[in-house]
């Protein structure tokens, strides 16, 4: 996927002026957070479950090698294959090799952010394998040659007329305007693809070493048709998506659905544990799991390790006051919002993703809703520290902060400097109590007035009062 993160500020400006997008984001804001709060209100032990989940994930990360190898041998015992992919290129090539080994021409796909991350669709198309997205949102995006703007509601940036137009154009049908009609049309088109596909590719919300299973949770059932009908099922997932046992899985399912959509339980929860066994009525003949690393193993033991707990629920972006103003595309790559602002610099480099960890007020809402308690602001700050150390942040800002911090350590000079600034601002404000413009900090006065200082500083006034008191 093309990287647009360096243009974050321009992207954001365009997004803020896009009335359709703003309307769509309003729907998001009105939907997910309220549903999540209601679902959690009905689960008093939610916080205790979060603590457990955090502990389990920390344990998994510290023993990841053991769990990965256990998972591999279990999958093999079940008759499946595990493929290790250290990079996006490796992963794409592995998947293509499997497709070509069975002469696949079309593959159906369930929703998977990891396949977005590795750029699978473009790669397959280049090699004459046609991928067909079957999640309704992803399908719409594929027709539009668009990309997800949200990790669980990929087409959240579109409205009804966008869908109506693209269906009429690409399906060659009369434009339909009712959501039900559009859904039926997509269903009709997709049924043929499900039946015709040579290979089905899905992601996995989790994998379970205990049984060698992967699991997908969906609300449309498209994932089940994707993985059950073709002769070959390829699961593409990343190495950190491990929960050790089925018992643990049930805990994470409770957290995931509530944190994501506010559902007690997602509609379809499907475990895959290998290819069709003798006596099975259906299922694929081949079962492959591609385990993608793509930089994750290097996060074990570094400042970003906590990020490996992420279960991709999207609660952080659903509650983010920045995401909810600008949407996901502004972030310029696959993963948007707070979790993306931590992950994206790791995956595309801090040089290109430099704005992302800075585009946060550190309001802390993301961390407060995270089901696995990832300290997202702390991780974004750690990127800022990296930028500062590498002198990758803008020089003017760095000098200003450095100069200010030096002054703050020299209180007498600081006092002198601040009294001059106070005086200047007071003179500029006159008797209005506020300033309309400033020679520095134009970002402030562009959109709002600056309340003027009251006069001399508190410490100066306090000292004067104390001196008076001493004399009397």
């Amino acid at each position: 996927m093309q990287i647009n993160s360096p243009k974050f500020k321009d992207n954001a400006r365009i997004a803020l002026a896009d009335a359709n997008l703003q309307q769509a984001l309003g729907n998001l804001k009105a939907g997910f957070p309220g549903k999540r709060a209601a679902a959690i209100g009905r689960l008093p032990e939610f916080d205790a479950l979060r603590d457990q989940a955090q502990d389990i994930k920390n344990h998994v990360i510290e023993n990841l090698d053991f769990y990965l190898e256990t998972f591999e041998s279990k999958v093999q015992d079940n008759g499946g294959h595990v493929h290790w992919a250290s990079s996006s290129e490796d992963a794409c090539q592995t998947i293509l090799d499997i497709c070509q080994s069975v002469g696949a021409r079309t593959v159906t796909k369930g929703k998977s952010m990891v396949t977005e991350e590795i750029g699978l669709n473009d790669f397959l198309e280049k090699h004459s394998v046609t991928p067909v997205e079957t999640d309704l949102g992803e399908y719409i995006l594929q027709l539009r040659e668009d990309h997800p703007s949200h990790i669980i509601a990929p087409a959240i940036h579109l409205n009804l007329s966008d869908v109506s137009e693209i269906f009429a154009e690409k399906h060659g049908t009369e434009a339909k305007h009712q959501p039900e009609e559009l859904m039926q049309e997509a269903r009709d088109v997709l049924r043929d693809h499900f039946v015709a596909a040579d290979v089905g590719i899905t992601g996995a919300n989790f994998y379970v070493p205990e049984t060698g299973s992967t699991i997908i949770v969906t609300n449309e059932g498209n994932g089940d048709l994707t993985q059950t009908l073709p002769k070959v099922h390829i699961v593409v997932t990343s190495i950190e998506k491990c929960v050790p046992t089925l018992e643990d899985l049930s805990l994470f399912m409770r957290l995931l659905s509530r944190s994501a959509t506010g559902q007690e339980c997602t509609v379809y929860n499907t475990l895959s544990s290998g290819p069709r066994q003798p006596g099975d009525q259906d299922g694929p003949e081949q079962f492959h799991v591609v385990l993608v690393d793509n930089g994750r193993s290097s996060m074990v033991g570094d400042d970003l390790q906590d990020m490996l707990r992420c279960i991709r629920c999207s609660a952080c972006m659903n509650h983010c006051p920045v995401y909810s103003q600008i949407g996901g595309h502004a972030y310029g790559w696959v993963y948007p919002g707070p979790m993306g602002s931590v992950l994206t610099p790791k995956m595309i480099g801090i040089h290109d993703a430099g704005h992302l960890p800075n585009a946060s007020t550190f309001c802390g809402k993301c961390e407060s809703v995270c089901p696995v308690r990832i300290p997202l602001p702390k991780l974004m700050r750690s990127w800022r520290e990296t930028q500062h150390q590498q002198q990758a942040s803008p020089a003017i800002g760095r000098m200003a902060i450095g100069g200010w911090a030096w002054l703050a350590r020299h209180p007498r000079l600081y006092k002198l400097g601040s009294s001059i600034a106070i005086k200047a601002m007071s003179i500029m404000a006159g008797n209005k109590g506020r300033l309309k413009s400033l020679p520095v900090g134009r970002g402030w006065t562009l959109w709002r007035d600056l309340p003027a200082p009251q006069g001399s500083s508190f410490q100066q006034q306090w000292k004067q009062q104390q001196n008076k008191g001493d004399k009397s």
Binding site: V322, G402, A408, G433, R448, G455
Partner: protein, 279 residues
């Protein structure tokens, strides 16, 4: 940004504690009246208040800009400056929140780390200190006004401050609190964020002032001057009549001083209900 582990409430409220006022750089330079209001409240609650000399800043702008070493140096200065007091109290959840993060700046179990933990254990935001630590019950007063309260992020999510200011305000007779929608959503200030990302910040503060105005309160109140200056600046730019004040000014009954961003002390706009609007 989870709630600080250092908020240990003593079992018995201390008798006449020696309290250092941490004035904070913004209150010091922009709105000293908040400092005087804070002292007035602390003294009314039975504290002996001192103002350690030559204070500057908690270091949060450096910390959030990635300048960790600069922050460490400032933290060490503040740890020393506020060492000899029973408590350190500031009229800001954000700056006290920063003091509670000082331990994270240092190697675990180092001398600095332990001193930072010790300081964090004594550092309180004013409304939380009055209610949680001192269990202070202000004498009943009367102020006829309708306010709406903005929960600043750091106070709310790092120090658990939500009920405390409301509890104190509710003791004022004829003061009505109209809660606004999304009171706990960031106002878009975010320190340097509002300068680095002015367009996004502007949309966030516009949402905030829209919600505040929709509450039909006369006065927007909060506990952090950065947020209040941001919101007041937006309200004034929009030509709103809504006034903005720090919570301590109301609790200390210091309403003769012009509200934030006002040149003079103008009377509160009549509530919308007085104007015959539907409420």
């Amino acid at each position: 940004m989870s709630v600080s582990p250092y908020l240990q409430v003593p079992q018995q409220p201390p008798h006449k504690p020696r309290v250092a006022l941490f004035i904070t750089c913004l209150v010091d330079s922009m709105r000293p009246s908040v400092g005087f209001a804070t002292i007035k409240l602390l003294e009314a609650a039975g504290c002996h208040v001192e103002v350690p000399d030559l204070q500057t800043c908690c270091g949060q702008p450096a910390y959030n800009s990635g300048a960790k070493q600069d922050t460490q140096k400032l933290a060490r200065l503040n740890i020393k400056k506020f060492a000899d007091y029973d408590y350190v109290v500031a009229p800001s959840g954000s700056c006290i929140g920063m003091l509670h993060q000082y331990p994270d700046l240092f190697e675990k179990n180092s001398k600095d780390y332990k001193q930072a933990q010790e300081l964090a254990g004594r550092a309180w935001e004013i409304t939380s200190f009055l209610t949680d630590v001192l269990q202070y019950q202000p004498a009943p007063t009367q102020q006829s006004m309708t306010i709406t309260y903005h929960d600043s992020c750091a106070g709310l999510r790092e120090l658990g401050i939500h009920q405390q200011p409301r509890q104190l305000l509710e003791r004022i007779d004829k003061l009505q609190i109209n809660e606004m929608a999304e009171a706990d959503t960031c106002c878009g200030f975010g320190g340097t964020f509002c300068i680095k990302f002015p367009d996004i910040s502007n949309r966030m503060v516009s949402n905030k002032t829209d919600n505040a105005e929709a509450s039909r309160a006369q006065l927007l109140v909060g506990g952090d001057l950065g947020c209040l200056m941001n919101m007041a600046g937006k309200l004034k730019r929009q030509g709103s009549h809504m006034q903005t004040r720090h919570v301590t000014e109301i609790l200390a009954n210091m309403l003769d001083i012009p509200a934030i961003g006002e040149g003079e002390n103008t009377p509160l706009r009549p509530t919308n209900s007085d104007l015959g609007y539907e409420v």
